[in-house]
């Protein structure tokens, strides 16, 4: 009997054993390094954003719009942009997540044939879509074609187009990780497919699906180009996403950061910090929800 197992049984470590140990140590060190390499940029970017933006945050800043404040003056706020981002991302996720999840279920539960293969193909292609293209499409069909004009809803549609491939891809992969044995056991008990999906497949993959949804949300909260064509921009508060142009934090940051006036740039960084905090809060909420539903199952 030779080999690593045999040498592991001996008392004195041979060269093979030492090599294995060294490789293992190197591996662990590499993992730690990788983790630090991932956390460092986060701290650097966040730190820089805080450095440039934190001092310009205030209650007034968060509760006022830019109405009446020219870009060269200090003052004003991002309330109108916060409303726009929250409404648009909510709407777009309400559209893309159910449709995307159901489409992913179609791919995993009824996965053979030309239709699923075409869907997978197009979804893969569309993961690389430059965001402005989604905006162009919605502009051509909704803003222009149907004469609906700029609106937050048009922006949400453009964002949904960007989110769909991410939701489908991530969900399909997560759903595929559920072992068939679980499904078979459920069918063996006579439970119909739809019930199996609801009670077995979805809860098992809940954590992964939540991650997929979060990735999709993160994909669009920072998007500018598609929104410029669909929701345009607004210096005033517009609470109605279905009528009239709406601002968004991403558009606000993009426009303000490239201005020639220091107060505008300061506002941009404060808005960037607000956006990051907002998205992280969304993440935290989603993870808590997912953990609670998973706990009920486990």
């Amino acid at each position: 009997m030779t080999g690593p197992v045999a040498s592991g049984l001996r008392a004195a470590p041979g060269w093979r054993e030492t090599r294995r140990r060294v490789t293992d140590r190197a591996f662990r060190a590499a993992l730690l390094l990788a983790f630090l390499a991932a956390v460092a940029p986060l701290l650097l970017v966040l730190g820089y954003t805080v450095y440039r933006g934190a001092s310009h945050l205030s209650a007034a800043f968060l509760t006022h719009s830019m109405a009446g404040v020219p870009p060269s003056s200090a003052g004003g706020g991002i309330y109108h942009a916060i409303v726009g981002t929250v409404e648009m991302v909510l709407l777009s996720s309400l559209i893309s997540v159910p449709v995307g999840l159901l489409a992913a279920l179609y791919l995993t539960e009824f996965g053979r044939g030309w239709l699923p293969r075409s869907i997978r193909f197009f979804v893969d292609v569309m993961t690389g879509i430059p965001s402005i293209v989604a905006g162009l499409f919605v502009y051509a069909f909704l803003v222009l074609g149907l004469h609906r004009g700029y609106s937050g809803f048009a922006g949400a549609l453009a964002l949904a187009v960007l989110q769909l491939p991410v939701v489908i891809r991530a969900s399909e992969d997560m759903l595929n990780l559920v072992p068939d044995a679980l499904r078979e056991a459920s069918y063996a008990l006579g439970i119909p497919q739809w019930r199996t999906v609801l009670s077995v497949v979805l809860p098992t993959s809940a954590a992964g699906l939540t991650t997929g949804v979060m990735l999709a949300v993160a994909r669009v909260t920072g998007e500018t180009a598609p929104l410029l064509l669909t929701s345009f921009d607004n210096t005033f508060i517009n609470n109605n996403p279905f009528s009239g142009p709406q601002s968004a934090l991403s558009v606000f940051i993009y426009n303000s950061a490239q201005q020639a006036y220091a107060p505008a740039v300061d506002r941009a960084w404060a808005a960037a910090l607000t956006l990051i905090v907002l998205v992280i809060a969304l993440y935290a909420g989603a993870r808590i929800l997912a953990r609670r539903s998973a706990l009920r199952q486990r």
Partner: protein, 327 residues
Amino acid sequence: MTAEPISPTSGALRHRGGWWSGDRAFRTTTLACGGLVLAVLAAIALFLVVQALPAFRADSTSFWTTRTWQPDATPAVFGIAAVAFGSLLSSAIALLLAFPVAVGVALFITEMAPRRVANLLGYLTDALAAVPSVVFGLWGLYWLVPRLTPLQQWLADHLGFIPLFSAPQGVPSPSRSIFAVSIVLAIMILPIIAAMSRETIRQVDPQIKEAALGLGATRWEVVRTAVLPVSRAGLFGAVILGLGRALGETIAVALVLGISFDVNAHLLVPGKNTIAANIATQFGEAGSTGRAALIASGLVLFAMTMVVSLLARWMLGREARRRGASR
């Protein structure tokens, strides 16, 4: 709910007999969504092709080999050689940098970190995805590039014999190069790949890992033999999402890169361009031919994503996609 008799046929994976109305509704709904998605994506593809056609007609030189971008001039001279090359180059380097780190982070969180800390660490890496691309662009431009320049100069001085790292006219200070852009892109796609990898690795059957451990394998050997091989499909999906993001990133590249329409392999000097950044920078002021040309370049970007995805799927498809059953 009526009690259903357990019959042999109801244990089949695909229901041959007895369609419950619930199942029919389920199949119809999911089919409808799948069809809707296909319709929307196909409509977008068609829309783009129609919008791009005028550009092909107007181009007076070869679309594939010309480097410059002057679609609104008379005569119109433009081609995707430079921008397509830059897209491929920057995305490839970004993936090369991000993938090992992302998988490393995922392994660290699932295999090495204590359970309570693991969640927190997961949140940390996810937080990176919360940062909007314009912030990455501005941070890259103002903070990272000046600090990266000494490293780029060192690489050019000591590894300059490798064509990738050579700088015939020296490395300017600061150097807004593809190298810097790729690092920013890598940071941007890292959370996507890490999150997907983490979920995939977490779902690996613990019995296989314990079996390996029971045979005396070290952590590294467990990962190498039990975890990574079965995670291939999920990792591939993570790579595709990361690649898509890298190829389609507009603002960060447009802000950080010192743009020019060259094709060369010098990573450390400013220059080159990407398709997405070109679209972002040119779209606002483009005339009608210019817009058509930009959309045509977007189609080329799709083709690139398509080719990579098909290749990877073909390589993956040769092994069973999941343990448990083949579908």
